[in-house]
Symmetry: C2
Subunit: 407 residues, 2 copies
Amino acid sequence: MKLELLVTGDEILRGTIADTNSPYLLARLEERGLRAERVVSVGDVREDFLAAIRAASERADACVVSGGLGPTEDDLTVDVASELLGVKPAVHTPSLDRLRARWAERRRNEPMPANAERMARAPEGAEVILNPAGVAPAFALTLGRCWFVFLPGVPKEYRALVDDVVLPRLSARAGVSPTHARVLRLFGPAESQVQERLEGFSQAHPSLRVGYRPTYPEIHISLVAPTADALAAAEAEARARLGPWVYGADADRFPAVVGAALRERRETLAVGESCTGGLIAKLVTDVAGSSDYFLSGAVVYANAAKQALLSVPEELLARHGAVSAEVALALAHGARGAAGATWGIGVTGIAGPGGGTPEKPVGLVHLAVAGASGYERAVERRFFGDRGEVRLVAAYSALDLLRKALR
Amino acid sequence: MKLELLVTGDEILRGTIADTNSPYLLARLEERGLRAERVVSVGDVREDFLAAIRAASERADACVVSGGLGPTEDDLTVDVASELLGVKPAVHTPSLDRLRARWAERRRNEPMPANAERMARAPEGAEVILNPAGVAPAFALTLGRCWFVFLPGVPKEYRALVDDVVLPRLSARAGVSPTHARVLRLFGPAESQVQERLEGFSQAHPSLRVGYRPTYPEIHISLVAPTADALAAAEAEARARLGPWVYGADADRFPAVVGAALRERRETLAVGESCTGGLIAKLVTDVAGSSDYFLSGAVVYANAAKQALLSVPEELLARHGAVSAEVALALAHGARGAAGATWGIGVTGIAGPGGGTPEKPVGLVHLAVAGASGYERAVERRFFGDRGEVRLVAAYSALDLLRKALR
């Protein structure tokens, strides 16, 4: 099956926004063993858009078009598609009803402008597909040899329609069976370590498609199987092989997984961070509801602050230096003690680009966790990358120490 | 001038990476009054790439091609371009010399693999353009009526070549005079406020092109003028009209600008943050060298932590509530006092989505700055958006209070 993507929108051609929809669809296709041959973007220019659709109808078996389904005169998609089909645009009553209901709910006291109705149209005779995440309906039609599906460009709506409609339809058209998919999310290993652990795994599951996607500092592994049973078997084996590197799946996010473990145990966290500069606290508190378990963080850049906020003894700093296992542990204990938290995290290191020495190079980080009954653990790591990368992987690694302590 | 962009790379068509190069070039073009009509992406497939170049040569006056200039067999660009020109690829000696020097410098003890030399080739007879930021040279040639320039896909190299070579050449080909450009970077106003202040500004500078680009929570205004003098005059007037909303220009970044002002005055900063959860400290310490002026941060989510780390009186919390001007000021003074810093920042608010009340709704944030000689300032703000947006604009607003205090 020859497949293409066509994107329309002046804001894309002007560089005002980047097209994040196409990478999303392309990645989901790849997981299913499908690949587009071409992605074309044009502005909201009638002739360019017409020419691009015509060219796709001559070249491709299927084409996913996005954008131009809004209410303004610049939104040309319904008109252009109707013109190519030789039909008129028609109002789709269920979509218009939903549009009216939504308007009444959100702007009780304003009349709905007439042009809003433009969003509820589709070419006469096209298959209309309700939009699960918005108002403008999607629609599908055939031109020449090519099956076209037209989606709104709003990312939330685009993604919902891709997942619910486009992927199953394209899989069917390509003769690929409907699939069951899971993304395992890992933190900890290098890509080569993952591949080593999964040696022979693909061969043991011939109906499975396995994809690797490093998303720094995580690695995501997609498993796509023809049946729910095949997926469950493959997932179980992958989890057994990969062990605690797998922190979650699908919509799970790393800081939220650590937070959920704390909430479940009704335990609390405080952090004392130096080189990560507030990033650990920021990641933990990005999660709504994190005040249930996060008590406080101390960003102790200066040595005097390490003493003043977290009672790190001056003598310890002088003897071992600020970047040392001893100080990481003192930060973890100090954070825990100052906040009266169940757990304390301590991090100290050299994020770079300056500040490295032969003994303590850029990227050297000491991480520590302290808990109840004298529990403590410290590790020394050497990370590579720029300042932002060192900080991010150090923050993840510190949270990962806690995640493992909570297991 | 009909202009197109052509991008090649399997990693793009697989959705592994998003194309960030095209939005960069498209935005720079827009600033100069140029616009591409079409962006086409194809994989590393010889026939698709050949067909896409041929189509562009028939349609466009100029085409910027990127990707496929690396050392591997998948990197087809030099071979495909040579085939279309009817010539052989030729090694570009200055690029090969640079490649060898670079290899010797970085991997002293390993011989350079033979295929690395592929990166130093260009089609015979093409105009070769040295790569200022890497090894693989760019090259330009004419096919049919269309001028093609071929760039490496590595973003750093792509951007350097766009700025140094592609924009001046395309401006010249389009009959647009060479331009002088500046981007003013603003924080504070809404877009409508900026437009109000700049009423009549464009008309007063008829040779100027003005572009607005909201980049949450900042607004960037691009000024492009035909001469350095015209740009200087326009910039001076824009700065006078916009006043302290303009925090910097071009490569300036907001947290670094605030940091530079502290460094210049040899002053220091400590922060006490609640709803921003470490984000202020993170933004400040994202900047390399921030340990020169950043002493410490306290992320005091729990009320007990506000008391323990920053000595916020229990009585104050009980009387005014944690989200109050009084507590924001106490956090600023407490942070400053605990660290012995010149300046203290305090932030407390409700980031949402939960935790709002009719009196203290989601988005309500109190910001404060405390300085020497009893200086203090507190403001109450109501922000809109999701949790991430409220936190980001609150962190910026707190740093902006300090920026204005430092002026």
